[in-house]
Symmetry: C2
């Protein structure tokens, strides 16, 4: 099932996407819900960020090629982590599918995309074993972990580099039924594929991450975990359009514009 | 005015604290509200976490003595930051006044308190100049940035060290009218003052932080910014009670217990 948050005629609600239509619901997919009987063409509604997570988690370094290429760009040897590293991103930076990423006036040329699978938690959970960890997942969406690399290297934390307003596109919707091993992530820049990787070929899989996290912290419905990215990105400029497609979910598309 | 979130007879709401009583309200202090006419003794209600912030910000290193003492404990020279450093904490870790901090089974002896002033944002704001930055503040509360120092040194991020469940007591309420320069922070361990500092003697003041942050990110009502701590903490053990008192706000008290 495919859940979208959408707005039409000034009203925002959850809906179930089927093909090019969305069937409005009352309530939330994390609790009670029912269809209202109203349906719309997807092209006629505004797609919103699926949710503002309670806690916004991310995987630190989780794909080998991304680490190798990032280290190569810095002229150093890649440092491969020995265990899952849990990081955070900030809610202020979230934007929806088809909204614009705004490049700040003082950003350098090194603004990059990172196409990521996003896990959406559906159940309150703690102390999950690895075999049971996937049971707390509600579904999956797509994230673009937009990063300003000069700030990422120069600041002590990633606050500007990764959490500037609009730097966290997420969507377009949450898909509850996926085949992780069949997934590919394709990132297109202005229509041409520039990065491509098998989505589930992670250093540490989803179950390993969720199990490790839940030994210390309670996962809540609506929390999200961004799983990291592979490969690297060219420098992005105002006018560029980045599309991230993940098999079985869909495509997250955002234009990059200059701050005015 | 002093705003508390409290529960009585199974119902949670905001209320206005006066002396040892709380006057229940409908709505929220960030929008429309009115008194319901009901009042309770503070001792007869359960105080809740004032709010779950949309984004949970913190000041990285913001008091000189804390940096000096922490560096001394590690046998290195203190590194004094040249500009505000913005960090993050996680919503899962928040607990209320009088709730217990649970020390994980595998934590080392180095579990420490950090008494902090917490700024609560009241207005959506971006691109604030330093002179106008304080205008977005709704009020102030108290935080205990509980930290497991071995994890803090050994992990790449602070996820376990600072964001383990219950490691972020916040409260007891939000005070809207304070005199920052008259404030002292006193941290008592089992009744005896162990740490004491002038709350507003920060490396970078509140206005400097909020102005710097808001150049890149939108502040939202209900966001919180923890302002850092001074001094150092002894190792805490199960059974210890930590009270953080800040002039003009009140006292945040939490007991430390062992995970069972």
């Amino acid at each position: 099932m495919r859940w979208a948050k959408f707005t039409t005629a000034g009203r925002t609600s959850w809906g179930i996407v089927e093909g090019d239509r969305v069937f409005a619901t009352q309530g939330t997919p994390f609790g009670e819900w029912q269809q209202t009987g109203q349906r719309y063409g997807l092209a006629d509604v505004k797609i919103e960020v699926p949710l503002i997570p309670r806690t916004f988690y991310c995987a630190g370094r989780n794909y080998v090629k991304h680490l190798t290429e990032a280290a190569g760009a810095d002229g150093v040897a890649p440092e491969i982590p020995k265990r899952p590293e849990i990081g955070y991103r900030a809610q202020n930076a979230l934007i929806a599918h088809d909204e614009d990423v705004v490049i700040p006036r003082d950003a350098t040329a090194q603004v990059h995309y990172e196409g990521e699978l996003v896990v959406v938690i559906g159940k309150k959970a703690k102390h999950l074993s690895e075999p049971e960890a996937m049971s707390c997942i509600f579904g999956y969406t797509i994230g673009n972990d937009v990063s300003e690399r000069t700030w990422q290297r120069g600041d002590r934390t990633f606050w500007r580099a990764k959490n500037t307003d609009t730097f966290k596109p997420m969507g377009p919707w949450i898909e509850t039924a996926v085949d992780l091993d069949a997934m590919e992530t394709h990132v297109r820049l202005n229509g041409a594929v520039r990065t491509r990787f098998r989505t589930n070929e992670m250093l540490f899989g989803i179950a390993r991450f969720l199990s490790a996290m839940s030994q210390y912290l309670t996962l809540w419905p609506g929390d999200v975990m961004w799983m990291g990215t592979d490969g690297s990105s060219p420098n992005l400029r105002a006018g560029d359009v980045v599309e991230i497609e993940i098999t079985g979910i869909g495509t997250l598309r955002n234009r990059f514009v200059a701050e005015t």
